[in-house]
Symmetry: C2
Subunit: 570 residues, 2 copies
């Protein structure tokens, strides 16, 4: 990978010679043994211990830039001062509309250093959705990447455009330079450490398939502890290289902007999910870690560039459970899947499918079934519970755990330091979500006798066929094992005799598509035959439809609601 020698940061990005103080002004009134937790501490440590280590490589952009931890920290400090000079007060929201790039990485640290709240906005939203979030969040300043200016509504907020050049003349660079001038070299000591570790850190809006997006407010304490857990659970070290495939705007990149920095690792920012770029970095840049949803993981292993990687890569998978097929494909290439589960409301990952030694002796299929479960809570999260769903009118009744029988379905609920603080400016939604003193995930699961939690389906994903409950997830797991299937999703479709029956939508693998061209009905028969050996009769798909693509949300989740609408019209 290219090194920092290829790029000279702007004058105001270079720390003054001999600047060594990495401590902010301490809040008053704390005893010697208490320091409010704050994920900013990780970047401060990195800039002190590894000032000359490569922190960010933004190598694939039109204007590649490379920052060491020393330079990056200076830029973050400049950003904090620039925000304060622009009138940002503690607790104010600062919105960021940007793809994976240095500016949004900066903002995860600089906004917090100004004691404000970062509000990263999904670049795949429509202009009216962005307008809603900007208004609802009350963002007083917006950092927008030049490519997404068209998403901006007319606004009273200060707008800082980033041309993503890193060069003088870029409005974002001018903004940082204004911070450096305002700082008058007071350095970190001129900024105040937030005294309340439960103050807001980030405000991330859920993409919400129904209704308006909701603003998930997280805290400094939670971000700190979640980042530590992510660094620990995925074994990141100073030797690690993290590739940004997951968008940083998605639940603050699952706290990885802080976790990577806590580990003193290097991060590579990719503006787009581009398979050639991804495979270039896998093969040439020493990548050791990345995060992505299964649909993206499927594209990665199916890319023409895919081959065995020179260094083992840890692939963190969340969004939905990986299939045996995907796990096998990843492992063949030297990519080690780690299955985690969480929601925006839990800072991203909250649980992990902890591996047991005994699994090593299992067949890939059996092992994958174990790994596809959601498992147990992370190092710094409280144990999840799976509880009987209370009637709507009994929301204050105590929660009752389901038995560990692998059969009784309940709802996953969680609390503790890695649960959100609230839905911003939505007391009703917060109260509903926190019924019984736990956050209600809406995800339905069983607890197996070995204690592993396994998601069955959201209630609407259960197919009730002839009085039997079939899990669309379980059906998808089995259909994905067919050698010609690239990606598959299953929904319930009304059936005159059985009430409901499964319908499968399949994308064929590139090399299998020609074989079945014009013979999709025959492929359907082949897939049903495959299913019969693996699933009870009531769970076998009655209908199979081959498609070129599946409708997905802006964060890559398959939109079953769209498929259901389509099927309802058939």
């Amino acid at each position: 990978m290219a090194t920092t020698s290829k790029f000279h940061p702007t004058e105001s990005s270079v720390p003054p010679a001999g600047a060594v103080n990495v401590q902010l002004k301490e809040p008053k009134g704390f005893p010697v043994h208490v320091q409010p937790l704050n994920p900013l501490s990780f970047l401060l440590r990195a800039s002190q211990i590894y000032p000359n280590k490569l922190a960010i490589a933004h190598s694939d952009a039109k204007n590649p830039v490379f920052y060491t931890y020393g330079v990056w920290a200076q830029r973050v400090q400049n950003l904090a001062y620039a925000l304060i000079e622009a009138g940002i007060q503690p607790g104010d929201r600062v919105a960021v509309i940007a793809p994976n790039s240095p500016a949004i990485a900066d903002a995860h640290h600089g906004v917090i250093a100004a004691r404000a709240i970062i509000c990263p906005i999904n670049t795949r939203l429509t202009a009216p959705e962005v307008a809603y979030i900007l208004e609802h969040s009350g963002a007083r300043l917006i950092i927008v990447d030049h490519e997404y200016k068209h998403l901006l509504p007319p606004t009273q907020a200060r707008v800082v455009v980033c041309d993503d050049t890193g060069r003088a003349g870029d409005p974002y660079e001018e903004f940082l330079a204004s911070g450096r001038r305002f700082s008058r070299e007071r350095g970190w000591g001129g900024l105040e450490w937030e005294a309340d570790e439960n103050a807001g850190a980030a405000l991330c809006y859920t993409s919400g398939t129904t209704g308006r997006p909701k603003g998930v407010l997280t805290t400094l304490r939670g971000s700190y502890l979640a980042a530590v857990a992510n660094a620990y659970e995925t074994k990141m070290t100073p030797d690690s290289v993290y590739l940004w495939i997951l968008p940083m705007f998605h639940a603050c990149g699952w706290t990885y902007p802080w976790a990577i920095t806590a580990a003193f690792a290097t991060q590579i920012t990719l503006r787009t999910v581009n398979m050639s770029q991804i495979w270039y970095h896998f093969l040439k840049s020493g990548v050791s870690h990345y995060c992505a949803a299964p649909t993206v993981q499927i594209s990665i292993v199916s890319a023409p560039e895919a081959r065995k990687v020179p260094r083992p890569i840890t692939a963190v998978i969340a969004g939905s459970a990986p299939t045996a097929q995907l796990i096998g494909d990843l492992e063949t290439k030297g990519i080690l899947p780690v299955h985690v589960y969480g929601l925006t409301e839990t800072y991203g990952p909250f649980m992990k499918a902890y591996t047991q030694a005994a699994w090593a002796a299992m067949s890939l299929e059996e092992r994958s079934r174990q790994m596809a479960r959601q498992g147990f809570s992370f190092l710094t999260s409280e144990p999840v519970r799976v509880v009987h769903q209370a009637a709507e009118d009994a929301s204050d009744a105590p929660l009752v755990d389901v038995p560990q029988d692998g059969r009784t379905v309940g709802e996953i609920v969680m609390r503790g330091n890695i649960a959100m603080k609230e839905y911003f400016r939505d007391a009703d939604a917060t109260r509903r979500a926190f019924a019984g003193g736990y956050f209600h995930s809406g995800d339905l699961a069983v607890v197996h006798p070995d204690g592993y939690v396994a998601i069955q389906d959201r209630s609407k994903d259960i197919i009730i066929s002839g009085g039997e409950n079939a899990s669309s997830l379980a059906i998808e797991q089995e259909l994905a094992a067919h050698p010609d299937v690239l990606e598959v999703t299953v929904i319930a479709r009304a059936h005159p005799k059985w009430g409901e029956r499964a319908m499968a939508f399949v994308i064929l693998k590139a090399d299998a598509a020609p074989k079945w061209k014009g013979r999709h009905a025959e492929f359907g028969d082949a897939l049903r035959k495959h299913a019969k050996g693996r699933l009870p009769g009531f769970a076998c798909p009655e209908w199979v439809q081959v498609v070129d693509e599946l409708p997905k949300t802006s964060t890559g989740k398959i939109q079953k609601v769209e498929l259901r609408k389509m099927v309802a019209k058939l």
Copy 2:
């Protein structure tokens, strides 16, 4: 290593079938997003995720025992109930006088589960010293290993003797069984989670070379964050096997009782520091981690059993800096030294000599000089400062950092979540130690231009020779590189011309001792010649004395004060 099948735990150590709840009664009044930190959470997680994994192997005792995480957690729960039934109230102190063994490992979790404070007492102290600590701490219950009963004074406190058998009939086992009966299978849910994360966790007495020992009170929050840092910084995983060489009574084993459990690793408890046992486990039990002071490390690499280990072992070194000789000897055997620094007042390790990539290209000697520095603060600790020492009467004056010039000597001071809460029942000592809002370590150091903190000496360890300041540590580092030197320590001795001059006390290596028998003066000449090539003249030892052993404190630190007394009489 032997497995659990060789030992059947007592009836009351076996968890009830189907017991699955691992959550204590939640404290009232906390929002969904805040859970008070408590290191007990690690054992609860381990018992849930890895109930059948080997947690503790106490294999070398007269009565070997082996506990899985499931069984161990049940024993800890029994202990908590037994303590409560015995009248222990939240905040009470429970003393433990025991060598490394399951009982003291239990106590690190069970005492906290009863919301009490563990007070581990050094087994190498004299009976009067133990009596002082028991009285000062106000311990209401004492768990004492059968081998150390003689240390107990007449006491009003309840005494529970542990015969370290793990078998029915052992008074300690009966105590645990009483807890199980009292529990009436209410399980974890019958115990209360401590609401105040800043409540006391442990009370460890410093061995204090001068004056009475002082009681260092730590907190639950601090113990949690220190344990996470130790697990992270030493890369412990479920696959790790930790060998107890460091006594658990020493600063709560540097928080490793919790760190090992946080990592789901296996721990092997050794009652004594026995080289044959240590090397047996290195070679046969898959040991991956241990902690020890340099003097113990020297014994390990010099043992006749020493050879290349089959699995890389991480050796955490603290107490004083490792010499190049020791680092080389460890590395040759496949043991990877990690140099950390801290004090009882900082939960043990607080800093680490973080490795830089550039060091790999250095000679062993040069690399060792880098590694021997104390470095930077841990993941979860605040940056240390090295400050000009204020005059005694100006203790409230703001602290002023020394320049990063590698020459200006100041005092290491620290604060934050991994600094102690107070000296128990000693407000004066606490106030003095916390002057200026930082804990004062008493260790003198410089800050190098690269930011690494390097201890010079405690002020009395500096040798002032002809107006020049010579560091006894630096002299020791160089003398240790002589091929015949096993261990060396240097003190100042009065000199008629120069004021002071260095005097070296040397233990020869076993294979070199015969060569110099009766020729110690010649050895002294050889060592001085060696020193002249490496040290300025004023730092070369004027006197060299070969000895068979060095006076050490109960925790293995060399007692220079004893050597000084001896020399004063010469």
